[in-house]
Symmetry: C2
Subunit: 204 residues, 2 copies
């Protein structure tokens, strides 16, 4: 069978190249976003990526494995939080973090993707555990390394609790007064909370 | 057909009594908790409540209608937040609210029920809208009425954002340092955030 007579819908000469892997992960993220976690299937992702379902299984093993790889990949918007705390001082970090976080959620590509990831995590206990593990390993632990003291991990998760709550009320549930605040208003209201969690006296 | 020869599984002489309605709502909450929102069916709830599926449809119209009625019923644990702000002064309300909220989540009956309600809301956009409407009408608006100033609704939703984030990190995702804090530690860490949202200078 020559290149020209291959079945349509199969990526030419793809094999196990990194490009194929990336294409599958992109298709998976798009499917989680469009159909939700439960309705997404290995077969559907394979068709969208133009590869054989067996190749998706070979790479990722299961839908949960696909979700795990997708949120660990470069397409995961929360990765963009890391350079905020890796680049700057603790002073003012609360404000810089919430500003970057809101800019991710307001981004027309990253926002819906993050929304889909959160919905997937909420609709499947396995996916929820996968997102939690990613969040701890790739966001909370690296953040805690930049925070001083024995309670650095507690400070990091308190900060995360406020950021997650902002995302849910503003972008997921879209509760009116929260969704109507400007970025600057929300930063002004929330940054002092985050900064206190990072460097203030928590009484612990 | 006498009472004795009725089909098993049908509640005797129930008709449209308030008791029957309550039994259906209890069965619905239990089903959302055990099976999740997607897998819960009108038929399954009817069987568990010992009534005909047509009666469930007659009362509630659809699964979403059932969810709406269930979270508006007396079995909804978040109702217990209201007497906290209806009974006492604004001073110290942040601490009293988080203490009551944690006691609801730590309750062996109310905690799993609230968890199930949040998962249902996360797994279905319709259910999410229903929970949001309940939250705004039955918790945020009544709270805002006790808060002073033009920005009372904004203050109420900022408070809600922190409480929701605490629940997700501590009780849903069970992130280690958050889940390991004692009630008193968590109250000490979070109450100042809530009190500032209620009565502090937010810079808005």
């Amino acid at each position: 069978m020559t290149e020209e007579t291959r079945r349509p819908g199969r990526r030419r000469g793809s094999g196990e190249s990194p490009q194929t892997r990336e294409a599958i992960l992109e298709a998976a993220l798009a499917a989680f976003e469009e159909k939700g976690y439960t309705a997404t299937t290995i077969r559907g992702v394979a068709t969208a990526a133009g590869v054989d379902p067996a190749l998706v299984m070979h790479f990722f093993g299961s839908k949960d494995g696909l979700f795990d790889a997708a949120i660990r990949g470069p397409g995961m918007p929360l990765r963009r939080l890391r350079d905020v705390f890796e680049a700057g001082p603790l002073d003012g970090l609360g404000e810089r973090l919430i500003r970057r976080y809101l800019s991710i959620w307001d981004d027309p590509v990253a926002g819906p993707r993050l929304h889909a990831v959160m919905q997937a995590a909420a609709s499947s206990p396995a996916a929820g555990g996968i997102l939690k593990d990613f969040m701890v390993a790739e966001v909370l632990q690296p953040l805690a390394e930049h925070v001083t003291g024995d309670d650095a991990e507690t400070r990091a998760v308190l900060l995360a609790s406020q950021m997650i709550g902002v995302a849910i009320t503003r972008y997921v549930l879209r509760v009116d007064p929260m969704a109507a605040l400007t970025t600057d208003q929300l930063v002004t209201a929330v940054a002092p909370t985050l900064q206190r969690y990072l460097t203030g006296d928590l009484g612990l």
